[in-house]
């Protein structure tokens, strides 16, 4: 065998191995891009914001509902996941927290009930598939069980007077990049998102107490009027924010590879959440304090994409390692809060890790 032949063989072998290694990066897969509008408390918020349920002046025994239609405007089918993105449940003037009392029911309109339980405990709920071009409508009902006569002015239901709770629900789509690829696969997870838009949330309906009041007065009926209809179609790529999560290098001191890009100059804050990786009702292991420094803020130039290597906190890394060792699976969600042109959008990516 001549030296020249050996050299050629070596070069070919190196090239082949490099192809094997790099193929896992799946460069052909378009980078996950997407835009998420942040829901707002106010119905007069910027276009694209949606409030699925807005109930004021609730009292024990009340029940309020809101509906939302999720449409798959893409060309590929996907599965749909409803997750709780944020819970703001401050103590009311009398110390009570409404989120700990309210119950939530999630159901598909005309279909089955998907979740019934405490409002604060819904972390992630798979709600089935969504075919290309199809839409599904879901109804969320918040109810307040009547706790009876409180023992004192600041106990029982009385402790909840004036309290409020706000929950941000994120609708996520999952699309399998290459179902035929055997697992485990050392591929970075970048996928073409299944575009989903939220279209008209139908009005919520109040069902407050209706028993008669003292006959000595004749005020108008109680108003538990829900917000008026609003029609919102989210622009799919209005913000053009790109966020993808690459590999989580557990061996590389627990770093997460993240790629970020903005169409205009923006400021991005990252936050992480760790769950047990279950597809149904994933249990949150750690929400916040997953990325070192709790949040990571970066300023990005327009149309520039940057790659970040963000370390996990030691605690998050330990939790992830333990979860992967014991149960062979874990989930990592990265949320990017992107501030650009005076508007904040939120983009979420979740990857499922298998060991």
């Amino acid at each position: 065998m001549t030296r020249r032949l050996l050299t050629a063989l070596a070069a070919a072998l190196v090239s082949a191995l490099a192809v094997v290694a790099l193929a896992t990066a799946d460069p052909s897969a378009p980078e996950a891009t997407g835009e998420a509008a942040t829901g707002a408390l106010s119905l007069a918020a910027a276009a694209g914001d949606t409030a699925i349920l807005s109930a004021a002046r609730m009292v024990p025994g009340d029940e309020r509902t809101g509906t939302v239609t999720i449409r798959n405007t893409g060309g590929a089918p996907g599965t749909l996941l409803l997750t709780r993105d944020a819970l703001h449940d401050p103590a009311g003037p009398s110390g009570g927290r409404l989120g700990e009392t309210l119950r939530l029911r999630v159901e598909e309109v005309g279909g089955a009930s998907l979740y019934t339980g405490p409002l604060a405990e819904l972390a992630a709920l798979p709600v089935g598939s969504l075919a290309a071009g199809s839409a599904r409508t879901f109804r969320l009902t918040a109810s307040w069980p009547d706790g009876g006569i409180p023992a004192g002015p600041a106990s029982g239901d009385n402790a909840l007077q004036g309290a409020s709770v706000r929950v941000d629900y994120a609708w996520l789509t999952e699309e399998v990049v290459n179902p035929a690829r055997p697992t485990p696969t050392p591929a970075p997870v970048t996928a073409t998102p299944t575009p989903v838009t939220a279209v008209p949330p139908t009005p919520s309906t109040g069902s407050g107490p209706t028993s008669a009041s003292p006959s000595a007065t004749s005020p108008a009926p109680s108003s538990t009027t829900p917000p008026a209809d609003q029609v919102v179609v989210l622009p799919q790529t209005a913000s053009g924010v790109r966020l993808s999560i690459g590999r989580v290098g557990l061996r590389a001191r627990g770093r997460v590879a993240i790629r970020l890009g903005c169409p205009t100059t923006c400021r991005v804050r990252l936050a992480g959440r760790l769950d047990d990786g279950r597809k149904r009702r994933a249990r949150v292991l750690r929400n916040g304090k997953v990325l070192r420094g709790e949040t990571v803020t970066r300023s990005l130039a327009a149309r520039r994409s940057v790659r970040l290597s963000v370390p996990l906190t030691p605690r998050a890394r330990a939790l992830m390692n333990r979860q992967l060792t014991r149960y062979k699976r874990a989930g990592l969600t990265i949320t990017a809060y992107v501030r650009a042109n005076g508007r904040t959008t939120t983009t979420v990516r979740r990857i499922a890790l298998r060991n």
Binding site: A36, A51, S54, G162, T225, L250, I351
Partner: protein, 211 residues
């Protein structure tokens, strides 16, 4: 290229590929959030329907509030709304005591949408320690009027009432302070529950002095 160099290159390439494959594996799925929907729920509060004032907190500066019996000028009530408290002072074994204008009830100028008026019911609980009821007969009067009605009052936006109380310490154990809860329950057409309620502690002393 020497054979040794070739072997090194091949070894390095093999290590590279092995390392790559040995990294933790992922599923092939990623999730992309397209929208976030917000659910907001707010509990009702009696403050949306009724404000309660004492002399020191009355925004309209009404005067003539009940004095704490046994003092020269100390108002019986202090604070406002859910934190209002009152001590009526000393009523020594009397069956005809009264405390006029202990507090003021004020319906806000704008009631919640769809509520044209409210009904306020006033009731007293018993003293928890003794079970007795030296404070009783709550009655509402229009400011500046000598007429009062007992039991309940009707308030439309911006309307005020003042609360009168009767005291009867006759036959009770002397030199003792009694505490009763004044419950002001708010109802309106379409709502007859117990949630919109103020519960205010009112004290009275059976003895001489301010207690």
């Amino acid at each position: 290229m020497t054979r040794r160099a070739l072997a090194v290159v091949l070894t390095l390439a093999a290590i590279l590929a092995t390392t790559k494959i040995a990294e933790p594996a992922f599923s092939d799925a990623s999730f992309s959030a397209r929208t976030i929907n917000t659910a907001t729920v707010k509990a009702d509060s009696p403050l949306n329907y009724l404000r309660i004032y004492s002399q020191s907190t009355d925004p309209d500066g009404l005067t003539g509030y009940a004095k704490r019996q046994g003092t020269s000028s100390t108002p019986a009530a202090t604070g406002s709304n859910a934190s209002l408290t009152a001590h009526l002072g000393g009523y020594n074994n009397t069956s005809t005591g009264s405390a006029a204008r202990v507090l003021t009830l004020d319906a806000p100028d704008t009631l919640p949408s769809g509520v044209a008026g409210i009904v306020v019911y006033a009731t007293f609980g018993t003293d928890a320690a003794t079970g007795s009821t030296p404070i009783r007969s709550p009655a509402f009067r229009t400011p500046g009027s000598s007429q009062s009605t007992s039991g309940y009052t009707i308030l439309t936006p911006g309307v005020k009432r003042q609360l009168d109380l009767a005291v009867n310490t006759s036959g009770l154990s002397g030199n003792k302070t009694y505490t009763q809860t004044l419950t002001l329950k708010i109802q309106y057409l379409g709502y007859s529950g117990d949630f919109l309620t103020y519960e205010l502690p009112i004290k009275v002393y059976d003895g001489s002095g301010a207690g």
